[in-house]
Amino acid sequence: MKPRISVISGPVVVADNMAGAKMYDVVRVGKEKLLGEIIQLDHNKAIIQVYEETTGLAPGEPVENTGMPLSVELGPGMLKGIYDGVARPLSELASQSGNFIARGIQANSIDHEKKWDFKPVVKSGDEVKEGDILGTIQETTLIEHRILVPEGVSGKVSGIKAGKFTVKENICKVGKDSVQMSQKWSVRRPRKYEIKHKPSVPLVTGRRIFDTFFPIVKGGTAAIPGPFGAGKTVTQQDLAKWCDAEIIVYIGCGERGNEMTEVLTEFPELTDPNTGKPLIERTIMIANTSNMPVAAREASIYTGITIAEYFRDQGYNVALMADSTSRWAEAMREISSRLEEMPGEEGYPAYLASRLAQFYERAGLVTTLNGNQGSVSVIGAVSPPGGDFSEPVTQNTLRVTKVFWALDAPLAYRRHFPAINWLTSYSLYSDILDEYYDKNVSKNFNTLRRKAMQLLQKEAELQEIVQLVGPDALPEDEKAVIYITKSLREDYLQQNSFHEVDAYCSMSKQNAILELILWTYDQTLLAIKDGIKVSQISALPVNEKIARVKYDKDAEKEIDNIRKEFESAVSKLEGSL
């Protein structure tokens, strides 16, 4: 008896006569050979999730087991690429099926024809083991692709030479095995590494609210939950643009098609502030939009992180953005309910928490098998229904991530962007980074950022009083807090992603502006003692200059002028008393 379809319900198909099939084997379903994966076995029946639209399938159609788990082909040619959830290049899909995505298309994730210029770094006769670097390829002007010894291969290198090769041609022999530049890896299995370390270097994002108050580290994890319209996607895109990782993997998981197009159009035109090269050269995109098959959406997260790990193993710092993990969780829920599994909270499967944890645990700073250091940082957007953070996906994510950037609708309504609520957000890396900031930014920076946060906390308390008695009832020193926190909020925390200068703010500029604002606070307190009113200081024209210093290319110079102007304005006020 040949394997055949017996039941079809949306993306879930049941096949009979599947004896010998293993869990998570990839199968080809029906006459059109749709891509599917076994997710449950029951005697000789297999339950399959199909990565393509199942309309038109009928019971009795054949099912073919490939006997292989869902894998992605890794090798040179991935950068600048855009893939669907199961790592088929969208450009290849377009050339086979046109503007709309058809079914049953088979496509290699990397080009098998293109010749790459391979330069060996080992010689024939050298002893190598799994994960060692055999040679390099200049894949883009920005990134050197390092060819690694595949899994389970070790021994003496023979016949290695420089030259032009396709990814399928043998570049050398290791022991008895012929080695090519491409290798397959099962996406659900984390790639191997030597040791995981405690991260200690920030992933500098160029966004003031993150770097100063809620920093993330290279190899760390962060969650950005927020209601729609609060700016999750803009924040993710900003991070993809400006963070100082060497490789970016951007997963559009069940999100809007036009947004992915935006990234595709915008990135080639933007340049990396650290290298001056086009940002697209370090970027890999996975786009499984909301109307693309739901099972492929479930797989897209794994495809993305496997690619990220592959570059980590080459010794790079990789940042992965997943937008949005809620859509991934919903895909799990949809499949789970088709399987008639007992639902957990809000209909999500009981294994939601463990799947989320497994995914985020694939982040980290590691020593790779070849002894280099590499890292994967994961930043996951969460889309809680109704913006309610108590729902299962947000809660289970917060249990495993170390940074929480809480997006806030009221801030977004005010066009305070990034709309990160500074009172509810947190970063568990904040203290770890003290040492780094001390050494690399300024001795003062840690004191400044703590002081600024205390003032913002204080403001929140004062605002409650203001709500009851009005702002006039506050004593002058508290009015000074209100005055300075307004400046902190509007002139420091707010950042314009679309402004030519303000889009990226270096650490030293962050330090300089923060120093200036807190210096004005101290000056204001001194002035109050001399009998000047806060309202007089807040009416000074120099405030406008403070507000605009973030737009200034040469901020540090301007800041000196501002200080002088502020001092002389205050002493004029004192004189008139």
């Binding site: 309309t55 038109g56 503007n99 786009a287 693309m292 919903e330 109704g386 509007e490 405030n543």
Partner: protein, 492 residues
Amino acid sequence: MIKEYTSVVEVKGPLMIVDNVSDVAYGELVRIKTASNEDRTGQVLEVQENRAIVQLFEGTSGIDTQITKVKFIGETMKIGVSGSMLGRVFSGGGIPIDGQSKIVAEKRIDINGAAINPERRINPADFIQTGITTIDLMNTLVRGQKLPIFSGSGLPHNQLAAQIARQAKVLDDSSNFAVVFAAMGITNEEAIFFREELQKTGSMENAVMFLNLANDPTIERIITPRLALTTAEYLAFEKDMQVLVILTDMTNYCEALREISAARSEVPGRRGYPGYMYTDLSTIYERAGKIQGKTGSVTQIPILTMPDDDITHPIADLTGYITEGQFVLSRDLHRKGIYAPVDVLPSLSRLMKGGIGKGKTREDHKEVSDQVYASYAKGRELRDLVAVIGEESLDDLDKMYLKFAQGFEDLLVKQGYDEDRSIKKSLGIAWALLRDLPRAELKRISLTNIEKYLKTDVHTDAVGHDVMVGPSTAGSSADLDSNLGKFVKKRK
């Protein structure tokens, strides 16, 4: 030869189970003849070995388990499309109901469509001028965007949608414009309103209407938007038209979805709506956009009434997560007699920044919009404060913000149902309002633009001043629009 079955074994809600079938495909179309010889259509929702679960679009009344005949057509649901559909009215199931002849199809297309390959999309960036300031200035609509109206019962969402359909203009005048209108469960009165509005301006000849009214079969609502969007895609990508699709009311669509889910005893998600509603809605909303190599576009304006004005209700919530922004209507503004009552604070257009700025609208557009947003938000906050502590305890600056918020609503938001404001005029109103705030407060606007526009420069002031007087001079601004006027041509 298509086999006919009489083996219906179970009927419940909108579903029917047929036994002893063979070669039935998932998703295929089903034709049914009831005991009283009525024709119905359905679709296969699930197939097992020799049993099929079928959903009936026109309901299951009159279906029995003895006589009812069932045929599986062997193909998925398709619609015959043609350019001659323009000017015609169809039922929610795609049958002509305007008393005219049948459509001779140029092509038959699967109504479920296929996902547009994101790599083949073009980022939408063509400014659409709707003549409504809260949209053009604050939440710009661009060609190929999906931007819903979140409304509540009793709010003028229909008027707003009709005004957009009537006034929408694009920068180049060479393309043909079409409106595809899909009604799901709206009243006959509302349908007549839209028809008359389209006829009034002569746009009916460029419109296609699909009407599933409140007393039409509920489950038919599942296919109505898909018929409309398939037609729209055909007109846009094969007939090179700029198509505006209005879908109303998505709330009724979601309720039909819930009905089927309940009948299948599926595990419900929030408020009884199925867990796959996000995915289902995305297969509707994502069918908007522009494609490389095609001149046409599909722009969507779905309308939904939020139950109890609750924006966190699953229908509004999931829609907001898929669409590229939203216009939220406000009952407060409506009560104050302000039309169009768009509450700009929760409203948003995600694609705005691509469609505005130098060469498209004006270089100060983004900054002015951001500034007006921030200032109005501040004014609104203060209003709440005033309610507690009284206006006297505010300082002068706060009082200015209060006045700004008032002026914003009275002059910028409020406009006539027939008033068609140019973007320049809208910007003029905004500058006129901003002039009343201290210059130092205009932190969102660059010094260059402040220099250029804040000073009472005669030209802008004239526009701003016009508006202060009232809508009587509304038409006169057209000649002032030297920039835009040469591009903009009114739709026929």
